[in-house]
Symmetry: C2
Subunit: 102 residues, 2 copies
């Protein structure tokens, strides 16, 4: 159980924006949404080292943007899309769809 990281139950706009202002973290969110399925930490197309990627996943998890769980030794990532849409209607759509996905 200790291997499963803690996840927040509530969202703070400030923390969510601080997570999403980073382009690598925004790319992780975009890839999760586009794929429509959970992705292992090693399965993202991001131009950073493994340790830097781990930091980015931690920031996203602590802000409530993703949920993480283990399958064997792989840490999987789920976009908390429905919860985010309920807390901040339109925000994720605005950031990852259409021209805003630039």
């Amino acid at each position: 159980m200790a291997r499963i990281p803690a996840h927040p139950d509530t969202f703070e706009l400030q923390q969510v924006l601080e997570a999403l202002v980073d382009p690598v973290r925004r790319s992780i969110v975009t890839q999760l949404d586009a794929g429509g399925q959970d992705i292992a930490c090693g399965g993202f197309d991001i131009p950073v080292s493994k340790s830097t990627a781990t930091h980015h996943f931690n920031v996203l998890r602590e802000a409530g943007l993703i949920r993480q769980y283990y399958v064997g030794t792989s840490r999987m990532n789920t976009l908390r899309r429905a919860e985010l849409d309920a807390a901040f209607p339109g925000l994720i759509d605005a950031l990852i769809s259409g021209p805003a996905g630039r």
Copy 2:
């Protein structure tokens, strides 16, 4: 003419997010939208010094969030709402309306 600052014609999501991640700048945008009218730089309810406020207005203007012009010696601020909504549908709404305005 030299007193009228330059305004960008295009928007970059990264720059817009960097402007909006600051809570004081988000408050300026929220106050402009809520008031429905232009507001002089001295007319905002923000907890910062005049020089710090000037910095925040500059960041917002350079990101394309506000348009500035002079009336006498007062620098007025306009939210570029329609242009922003066209560039990033839903983004401003998500940040300033409802629970997201926290």
